[in-house]
């Protein structure tokens, strides 16, 4: 996927705003107003999973991309691609949970579109969204703001969303209380900003998990990032699910987790703030930005050895070996 973006899309549409290559584009409208503009698509299967569904995912995913730009999410659009024969009850449940999610996140869905495709040409329903948020003018938040010595923080334990999906995916079912961590991140992000924490960069940890996000950022700023495995919180039941399916929690998807880069002096305070939020009790400092250049991420493993953390090619599959 990364090659596709790098080799095809980026050169085809190259412009200053696109080349930020961040969760959303930060646009200065010139009259002192800056907005963040983002888009995302949702193709999750199964459509409903413990802790959420494709509708809550669509709203929170878009809202979170805006929050990652330090923008206050305001307006969303939603395009539905519905497979012929999708039961109305299913559609209603998705739409209903989307409307609830917009209320929780404090945004409005202001425009939309619906298309129907033939039976067998879609997986029930796909949702594409766009979002606009207001950026408080004096805050630049993007990978380019990251400084050597910055601390790397995450706002809670990892891997819940990915394993909640696995728990209900056909052929792999297991009994569990694991629920997706799908949630809007507006409040914790703005709690940091309003408390005057100098936030250099924010990035939500979605599909490829923690490791993929770290490598993406290391590559985009050509800086060596280092983390410690023992500092990364993973809940016992999520670890159990990963062990039996042969998954590495560092590559499992999250939907309510983000990474923040802050100066060392602000790190302690930032963690205290994040720990006040629901599911935030495991917020942790997991590593730091080194002085060295080079697009590599290293990790001190649980037994104290150092190894390279790489991006995963393709989706993680359950394995027996």
């Amino acid at each position: 996927m990364h090659q596709l973006i790098g080799k095809m899309f980026a050169p085809a549409f190259s412009n200053k705003l696109l080349n930020q290559q961040h969760d959303g584009a930060a646009i200065d409208l010139g009259n002192g107003t800056k907005i963040a503009f983002t888009t995302d698509s949702f193709v999750v299967s199964p459509l409903f999973f413990p802790g959420g569904n494709i509708g809550t995912l669509a709203v929170n995913g878009t809202v979170n991309d805006l929050a990652m730009c330090g923008a206050k999410p305001l307006y969303l659009s939603a395009g539905f691609i519905i497979e012929e024969g999708l039961p109305m009850e299913t559609l209603w449940q998705v739409v209903h949970s989307m409307s609830e999610a917009t209320e929780t996140a404090g945004v409005q869905l202001v425009t939309g579109d619906t298309k129907v495709v033939d039976r067998g040409k879609g997986d029930g329903i796909y949702i594409n969204t766009a979002g606009i948020g207001l950026i408080d003018s004096d805050r630049a938040i993007s990978p380019t703001q990251i400084q050597p010595g910055d601390k790397i923080l995450i706002n809670g334990d990892l891997g819940r969303h990915g394993m909640a999906i696995m728990a209900v995916r056909e052929g792999l079912e297991f009994e569990t209380e694991i629920k997706s961590d799908c949630a809007p991140l507006v409040d914790p992000v703005f709690a940091l900003l309003d408390a005057g924490i100098e936030v250099h960069c924010l990035r939500d940890l979605t599909r490829g998990g923690l490791a993929t996000t770290l490598v993406e950022i290391a590559e985009s700023i050509n800086t060596h990032l280092h983390i410690s495995e023992a500092a990364v919180p993973v809940r016992e039941d999520v670890r159990g699910a990963c062990e039996i399916l042969g998954f590495d929690p560092f590559y499992v998807a999250n939907e309510g987790r983000f990474m923040a880069f802050v100066p060392p002096d602000d790190a302690g305070r930032a963690i205290e703030i994040l720990r006040q939020f629901p599911d935030g009790d495991q917020a942790a400092i997991i590593g730091d930005v080194t002085e060295k250049s080079g697009t590599v991420v290293t990790m001190k493993s649980q037994i104290g050895a150092t190894r390279i953390l790489d991006m995963l090619s393709g989706e993680q599959l359950p394995r027996i070996c």
Binding site: A167, F174, I178, D237, G240, A241, E243, I244, I320, C321
Partner: protein
């Protein structure tokens, strides 16, 4: 070649046919149904090693701790050798 994980038996369902004997096994809190045909001696509360839905053996608690006694000996041995003691066979 074989990912096998230790888990704790929480329930056992006996259908009369020993080959169909199954149980629920907990791995850090998540539970999976597991075939117990190859561990007829296993009972609730035992830890079993599970691979592709089958329990292959009951984990031996005493042997499990033996590794750490061995390490303690090694620890004492290391101090001994640093202070010039003889290196007795610890395996």
């Amino acid at each position: 070649m074989c990912l096998a994980v230790p888990g704790k038996i929480t329930t056992i369902q006996d259908t009369g046919d020993p080959l169909l004997r199954t149980g629920k096994v907990s791995f850090g809190g998540i539970q999976k149904e597991v075939n117990l045909a190859y561990v007829p001696e296993a009972k609730i509360g035992d830890y079993v090693l599970v691979h592709v839905g089958f329990a292959l053996n009951v984990v031996d608690e005493a042997e499990a701790n033996q590794v750490f006694e061995y390490l303690r000996e090694m620890g004492e041995l290391a101090e001994l050798t640093e202070t010039g003691g003889d290196a007795s066979d610890t395996s």
